[in-house]
């Protein structure tokens, strides 16, 4: 399952979709909205996606992961629109026969998603707003 959605992410559904009776491990990563950046309070985040390409790029990442680890099931859901601190922005789940592969595959998927998939976020502060990582001067670890 690959989903780009404006609705709140149902993490349990992501886990259930990735689960398999043949698996001994289900690994899930849940990315949430932080309430601060650069020492300032984040009021909300605006997420935007180039949806058709984002789905295609996530599919490529899953294909790569499937070649490297014995994935029995997987699911990726990414939220777009306006998100408040504490809300779930992304959920990735994979299942594999043993736990080590599940940790590695899940980390690979979220790490690659963050550098390849055309999704953008804008932090909105009390006194302004900023597209994340757009300029060299404001590059941040996210």
């Amino acid at each position: 399952m690959i989903k780009i959605t404006e609705k709140p992410i149902d993490v349990q559904k992501v886990i259930d979709t990735a689960s398999s009776l043949n698996a001994g491990a289900v690994n899930v990563f849940v990315g949430t909205v932080r309430n601060n950046a650069h020492g300032k309070n984040v009021v909300w985040l605006e997420y935007e996606a180039y949806e058709t390409m984002a789905v295609g790029e996530i599919r490529k990442i899953i294909d790569d992961a499937s070649h490297r680890w014995p994935l029995l099931g997987w699911a990726v859901s990414h939220r777009i629109g306006t998100l408040k601190p504490g809300e779930v922005a992304v959920a990735v789940a994979v299942s594999t026969p043993h736990r080590k592969d599940s940790f590695e595959a899940c980390q690979y998927i979220i790490d690659t998603l963050k550098v390849k998939v055309p999704i953008w976020k804008k932090e909105v502060f009390e006194d302004g707003e900023e597209w994340i990582s757009a300029h060299p001067a404001v590059a941040v670890n996210s």
Partner: protein, 80 residues
């Protein structure tokens, strides 16, 4: 001159002033389009990176754009 319809996302939407813009370029490669964009919107050159996607995939500078291709500007991504 060749006319291209370009989708803009993230900060490029702010720089171009809209979600979709028509750009004229003297050539038909991604590199030609990039040069025309940089000339018309110099702020694009200040970005950390700017990829151009053709038909939903990252394209090389030498890729040739043909009629009906979907073109999109991909500034530094920040999902997750």
């Amino acid at each position: 001159m060749h006319t291209f319809r370009v989708k803009a996302f993230g900060i490029t939407k702010d720089i171009l002033g809209g979600k979709e813009m028509v750009i004229e370029a003297p050539g038909v490669t991604v590199g030609d389009l990039r040069a025309a964009l940089n000339e018309k919107y110099p702020k694009l050159t200040g970005l950390r990176s700017l990829f151009i996607a053709v038909n939903n995939s990252y394209a090389d500078e030498t890729a040739v754009i043909t009629d009906g291709d979907e073109i999109a500007l991909i500034p530094p991504v920040s999902g997750g």
